[in-house]
Every structure is written in structure tokens, then in C-alpha cells.
Symmetry: C2
Subunit: 175 residues, 2 copies
């Protein structure tokens, strides 16, 4: 089994973090991984707002509803955005897939570097999209996709295997 | 740098494959990784149609338009589906994100096991969705999300670094 497969299988959503901050190199490696996924017609139609300043993080957390509690305790949180400036005009919604790929790359990179993370949903919930658009004053072409919080884990979920392989979700050769 | 980060950064879309087939254990490991991503409210709202029978693969490839050429040469290809049976009723479109996460996990697992892959878009293009729904006779609740083709690489892209880090796509603390 490769380290990558192990990382994928052991990843769990981590919602509690220590006080340890993440250094700039770590944050940049995670972002670089976010930018290294495939994207439809290579549109690379995403943007990232990284909030790691402690005061800004608290302020943003307070503005973000229920998810804010997790964000407030994170080392940094990222507003992953679908960026319409670059979207594939014939099928702009591919940006949702492209953004998700970027997000999962970031989560796995973080996991392999010792950071936990949790994915906090925004799109397609319009109320949550509106809150984030207003908070950051995003251009009209930019759609908040998801928030991902990162930090060094203060909870241990390795003893909690979840349901991985579900035979009934797999069909061979025919539905 | 972790092996996971290296895998993420070196992955390129591979469209040409050798004749080598993938064994069942490899396919199952890749699927297991697909099922190990996070999903909104833990809906796990996906299903997978794995086509690895050579005759079925040729037949499916012929029915799948332009992407068929790649599929025909693959060791196996997977129709990744968003499965409405389990979707989060308040925001069913989360299934698109959940499916994308599953897909990227599969691609990275494959890469780390020596297989190349390429993501072939279906959703949101209605014509492509309709072709796949009809071909497999999918239930109404099941939406074709993407096809991913896998195989042992017959092209080498390691010498072709692509644009990874784009400073202008990153905003710190404020947009």
C-alpha cells in the first residue's frame, strides 16, 4: 500500500485543533497541491482566500454562522472559490467539480503533512453563498464554493474506522 | 515533502495506456479510496460502474463519443455516478462535490500505484448525461457525474511540468 493510499484511507474530518500555527511554507505547499488537480479544459477556474491572521480569523468566524466555531479554532481556513473569470463558457458548472478537486488535494496534502482538516459546505446553499460573498466583497464572477479549516489535530480519530468499501455501490460492467 | 504531496504534484492526465490489465485488488483499492473521502452530512451519495471486461469496454467506448478513444485503450474505466437515493435532501447538489472528491481520491490512489488516469467530463453537459443514462439504463435517481479512465501509462509526462502555483489566485486575509 502506498503512503498516498494510506493517507486517503486514514483521513477523517478533524474539527479540534491545537494552538500551533502553520508556517507559510506549509500553507503554500497545500495551496500548490490545490492548484495541481485536473480541471475541465484546464480552466483552473478557482481562487483561494486564506485567512491565517488570528484577528481576521475570529472576525470571519463570527460572521460565518455555525461553522464559525470550528474556523475560530483552526490554524487557518480557506475560502475556496469558483472563479468565473476563467470558467469554461459552454458548461460553467464544471467549476464546481474543479473546485472540489482542488479542495480534496489540499485536504490530502495537509493530512500527509500532519494537519487535520474539515470541509465546511457552502455551495449550493444560497444563504451561505450570500454571506461569504458579502463578507469578502467578492466580485460578481466569483462564487464561494466551500470553506476548509486546517490545523494540527487535537482529537484522535485513528481508532474510529468508518465504513469504507460498500459492495452494493459498485457495479461491474453493467448497472 | 510527503509521498502524497509528490503524488499530487506529479500527477498529469494520462490518455495512452499499455496493454496491461489491472488486477481486482488494485481496482478495489482504488474504489475503496473513492469511498473514503469526506461527503456533506456523510451522505456517501455515489455509485460506481466499473467496466473492465474488454468487450464491454469496447462497446461502451463506441457509445461514448469522442472520449471513447481513450476509454477503449484503458485497462478499465469507471462511470462515477451521483446517487440520489442517498443525497442530502435540503441541498441535493452537494452530490456533485461529493462525487468529485471520490473521483480525485481514485485518481491519486491510482497514480501512487503506478496507474495513469484521465478525468472525462459528463455532468453538467446534459447531452452526455443522457447518453450514459440510456446506455446503462440507470435508475432515475442516479446521475452520471464523470468517467475516469485508468491504465498503466504508455506516455511519459514527467518532463512536462505544468503551471502549479499562481500567486494571483491567492488572497491572504482579504479578497
Amino acid at each position: 500500500m502506498s503512503e498516498t493510499v494510506e493517507t486517503i484511507l486514514k483521513r477523517r474530518s478533524i474539527r479540534k485543533y491545537t494552538e500551533q500555527k502553520a508556517d507559510e511554507e506549509t500553507i503554500k505547499t497545500i495551496l500548490r497541491c490545490g492548484m495541481s488537480g485536473p480541471s475541465a479544459v484546464n480552466a483552473r477556474d478557482w481562487s483561494f482566500v486564506v485567512v491565517n491572521d488570528p484577528e481576521e480569523l475570529q472576525k470571519w468566524a463570527r460572521a460565518s454562522g455555525r461553522a464559525g466555531t470550528i474556523m475560530a479554532g483552526s490554524a487557518f481556513s480557506v475560502l475556496l472559490c469558483a472563479d468565473g473569470e476563467r470558467e469554461f463558457k459552454r458548461a460553467p458548472e464544471y467549476r464546481i467539480i474543479n473546485g472540489s478537486i482542488a479542495g480534496q488535494n489540499m485536504i490530502l496534502a495537509a493530512e500527509s503533512l500532519g494537519l487535520g482538516s474539515v470541509w465546511l459546505g457552502i455551495w449550493p446553499q444560497q444563504d451561505k453563498i450570500d454571506v461569504q460573498k458579502a463578507y469578502f466583497g467578492l466580485p460578481d464572477t466569483v462564487t464561494p464554493h466551500s470553506i476548509i479549516s486546517f490545523g494540527y489535530p487535537a482529537e484522535n480519530k485513528t481508532g474510529q474506522p468508518h465504513l469504507d468499501y460498500e459492495e452494493d455501490r459498485v457495479h461491474f460492467n453493467k448497472w
